[in-house]
Amino acid sequence: MSENAIVARGVRKAYTRKKEVVKGLDLTVKRGAVYALLGCNGVGKTTSIRMITGQLAPDAGEISVLGLDPVKDAVKLRRKMAYVAEGQKLYDWMTIDDLIKFVKAFYPEWDDKVCAHLLKMFGLPRGVKLKDYSRGMYTKAALLGALCRDPDLLILDDPMLGLDTAARREFMSGVVDAIHEFDRTVIFSTHIIPEIEALSDYAGIMVDGRLTLEAPVDEIKASFREIRLPADAGDIPELPGIVSVRNTGEDKIVTVKGVESEMTAAFHQAGFRFFTVNAMSLEDVFLAVTAKKQESE
């Protein structure tokens, strides 16, 4: 069995001739890892996920998910994989029990104990139609349907999209625990990073249809530093490792990638005397990486 749950190489997808959404995606997700696929709206996250789940066929490139071809072996793959789509819609006329009955029929390995446990953990009211659930509960119901079937791979495509802050917290309060307990591969596609940072083992940042950064989260956080300079500091020379430069008005913030001591030395050599070096959160790194791209455009 391969150590990678998902391998994508040179994947491309265009909806029309002029509009290519995914422009050569290379992605690797290790088995058992929680992978955060990050990116702004419209960079091709959902299209990539839909290709990984077999709902879209790629125009070029190869994808292997759990050793299977997502298009040719779609049914086999769906048996091993669970997918909660962006703004997932369920049958509104169903109650949570109806939903469980419906989904359970397709999965012989459905785990009633896990189901009961998750029902309790998520606090989903029974006997109420799904259409009467709050948005957060609705998404939890979709997640419950995905988790109880004991999949080898769980893909959550921006499940928090459209949720307000309260609903997002409500959702995350249950989901974080559930994903902690779930020891299989998880892909979490989102652009709301703080909530999933602690969960994720790996992160990949998509910019304009490509994966520009893919590494373990700890490694990302270790390799990126924020150098804060006074606003009147001179122009920043083109040093190797600089990812982006921002001017906030009060400060000039330079995001650098590399070994901290080497970068500090480089800045000293360039004539900067007063600056501070800060560690960065995953969100900061994401913003810096995506900002660079935006600047270059």
Binding site: L56, V75, Y83, A85, G87, L90, K104, F106, A142
Partner: protein, 676 residues
């Protein structure tokens, strides 16, 4: 639960609202029509056409919902995340919705088609139900509704345009299909129909394939299929136009050839088969009776104030109002004779005796077998047609025997009769003619045109031919009189109208009946044994499936019951004349008046009979278990107390037919007064 069970369950939960609403609307519509008819707001039950509006409506309701609701509510991604192939989902949805559609179709047909045959169907419903193509028609439309509409409307880019394309194509296809059916079932140019049928089948398969492709590929891959869809819609419209035009042109073809066929048919007519000595004796005896009656009638005639009295509603009970009538003249003669002349009893008894002979005995099961075996098999069309025949045509078969020739006569008679109605409506509404032309096809149309010409000639010679009722009776009569020869071309041409023989109505009827019996013997009913037990029991099963068919079955018994009760009434009248009072029991009629006491053909038991001082009442049980009480008084001054008691007893279970038919029998004493 298994995956397929939950898929079907979810489909049902999603579609049940539409399904129940549609079924409810249909039943409401049915009840409305029924009530309006009972209130005499409408005199004619011509609602057959409704099926043509209701069925496509159902199609739209059911077909639209199949995929569109899934896509509209965006649950498709959830469904497609489950481990079941897209193809399976497509077929589950398709077959489930198709079955819903079929259920509604059966409901629609069972409600409206029998209802429509109560009166004059003004639409070409017979062209559909007389052909297995209704199955094809249904499937074809269903497939289109579902495969086109659903995947189109869910398309986020161009769904509206696709919907418009479909909206244009849909009615065109319906018209095209009508044309196909007309050509396939009516035209002599069968190859045209066959080609069109193949085209339609290809279209259907293409539509199904397109729907499958859309669901399994397009939704996933988001390729723009608007061009092929528009092309498909365009082709559909074009083909429909071609079909329609072809049918239209064919419908008006070749009046001259019809004339030639008529002449040829006249020449080729064969003489009637020789009569057996027994049949000769029958015919001779009956003719004697008729002659005796005729001479007495001639003596009475000048005294009659007018002929209109005989048409009054109170005499309709003698012959029934919705079974094929004997020629009016014969009816008048017979009615007058029965009412006024004791000698008529003998004539009528002879008639009944002939009808009662074992190999002429009416049997609905036998009829059902024959129809099912010969024409339609076990399908739905068969049921619908059988119900129709049982109801309306039983009497004809009763009198005409159950030979292939009789059936052919009936078929042609129906065609021509309907065609005449339709052709005549042309004069009222010119747009209607197009529908007529499409629906009745060229052969019948030519026959009708020829018939109309003949009618004009005859009308110029004999003014009485302008009477529409009479015309129909002539057709009926003439059909009876022609059991031999190249019947098909002869009847199609309408040339029989020129033959003088049709005037010898009742005599011919009896003669040919005997001849039929011989043919019947020769055939030895070999075909009947080949029918499956399901069909054998159809008359019992059908009411359970289609409640309204009980009327049809009752209808086929009604003439028989009427003949038997007529026999009893007359016998009772003779008994009263001889003994001064009615007998205590029916048994007293035998052997003095009747050789044996006839039993209720439905139950096989004696009729319920209660004598009173001034009359009697009888219980007549019908096949649907409803009991009709009839009360008769034969004196000028009936005992009002007895009459009131009998009326109170007469709790007839209401049914539409009872309501129409169940008027109390006329008081014959009053009638006599009126006549005098």
């Amino acid at each position: 639960m298994k995956p397929y069970q939950v898929l079907i369950w979810s489909e049902w939960r999603r579609m049940r609202g539409v399904f129940l609403a549609t079924a409810g609307a249909m039943v409401l519509l049915y009840l409305t029509i029924l009530i309006l008819t009972m209130l005499r707001v409408h005199d004619i039950y011509s609602v057959a056409g409704l099926t043509f509006f209701v069925l496509p409506g159902l199609l739209a309701c059911i077909g639209f919902g199949a995929f569109q609701s899934e896509l509209k509510s965006q649950t498709d991604s959830f469904l497609l995340s489950l481990p079941v192939s897209r193809g399976k989902i497509f077929w589950y949805k398709y077959l489930f919705n198709l079955s819903l559609y079929f259920i509604l179709t059966v409901l629609c047909c069972s409600l409206f088609i029998p209802l429509s045959f109560e009166g004059n169907p003004s639409f070409s419903v017979d062209s559909f139900i007389n052909s297995p193509s209704i199955i094809f028609f249904t499937m074809y439309l269903s497939v289109h509704g579902m495969t086109f509409t659903a995947p189109l409307l869910q398309n986020s880019r161009g769904g509206k345009a696709g919907g418009w394309a479909l909206a244009l194509a849909f009615p065109a296809l319906v018209i095209g299909i009508q044309a196909i059916v007309a050509l396939c079932t009516r035209s002599e140019l069968r190859w045209v129909g066959i080609v069109m049928f193949i085209i339609a089948a290809v279209l259907w398969l293409a539509a199904l394939g397109l729907g499958y492709y859309l669901w399994t590929n397009y939704l996933a891959f988001k390729r723009n299929l608007m061009r092929p869809l528009f092309a498909a819609a365009g082709i559909a419209v074009l083909l429909s136009a071609i079909l329609f035009t072809t049918a239209y042109i064919n419908s008006g073809l070749d009046l001259a050839s019809a004339r030639r066929a008529a002449r040829a048919a006249e020449l080729e007519l064969e003489p009637a088969p020789p009569l057996t000595p027994e049949a000769k004796a029958d015919a001779s005896r009956l003719q004697d009776s008729m002659q005796q009656y005729q001479s007495r009638l001639d003596a009475v005639k000048p005294k009659l104030p007018s002929q209109s009295w005989i048409n009054e509603d109170k005499y309709s009970w003698l012959f029934g109002e919705d079974e094929p009538q004997l020629p009016l003249e014969t009816m008048q003669q017979t009615a007058t004779f029965i009412l006024n002349e004791p000698k008529a009893i003998k004539f009528y008894a002879d008639l009944v005796q002939v009808l009662n002979k074992p190999d002429c005995r009416f049997s609905d099961t036998c009829l059902t077998q024959k129809l099912a075996g010969m024409h339609y098999g076990k399908n739905l069309t068969g049921i619908a047609v059988i119900m129709n025949f049982l109801y309306d045509r039983a009497y004809v078969l009763e009198l005409g025997g159950r030979t292939p020739e009789a059936f052919e006569c009936l078929e042609r008679m129906d065609k021509l009769g309907n065609a005449v109605d339709k052709y005549r409506s042309f004069h009222r509404d010119s747009t209607y003619w197009i529908k007529v032309a499409v629906s009745i096809g060229p052969d019948t149309m030519a026959g009708v045109k020829y018939y109309e010409k003949m009618l004009q000639k005859l009308s110029s010679m004999h003014p009485q031919f302008n009477d529409d009722t009479r015309v129909r009776m002539e057709i009926f009569d003439a059909t009876f009189g022609i059991p031999q020869g190249p019947l098909k071309s002869f009847l199609e041409s309408g040339a029989f109208l020129l033959r003088p023989r049709y005037r010898e109505s009742i005599a011919n009827l009896l003669r040919w009946q005997v001849a039929y019996k011989q043919l019947f013997e020769q055939a030895k009913m070999t075909k009947y044994t080949e029918i499956s037990p399901v069909i054998l029991k159809l008359d019992q099963i059908a009411p359970a499936i289609i409640p309204s068919s009980a009327y049809q079955i009752k209808g086929c018994y009604a003439p028989r019951i009427r003949i038997v009760t007529m026999q009893l009434y007359l016998a009772l009248k003779i008994y009263k004349a001889k003994h001064g009072s009615f007998p205590d029991t029916l048994a007293k009629l035998a052997p003095e008046i009747l050789p044996v006491i006839p039993l209720n053909p439905v139950t096989g038991e004696n009729f319920g009979y209660h004598a009173a001082a001034d009359g009697f009442s009888m219980e007549i049980e019908y096949p649907d278990s409803s009991i009709s009480y009839s009360y008769h008084t034969w004196n000028k001054n009936p005992d009002s107390a007895v009459r009131a008691a009998a009326k109170a007893e007469a709790q007839v279970r209401p049914s539409p037919r009872n309501k129409r038919r169940g008027a109390p029998a006329p008081e014959l004493t009053n009638t006599k007064e009126k006549i005098k």
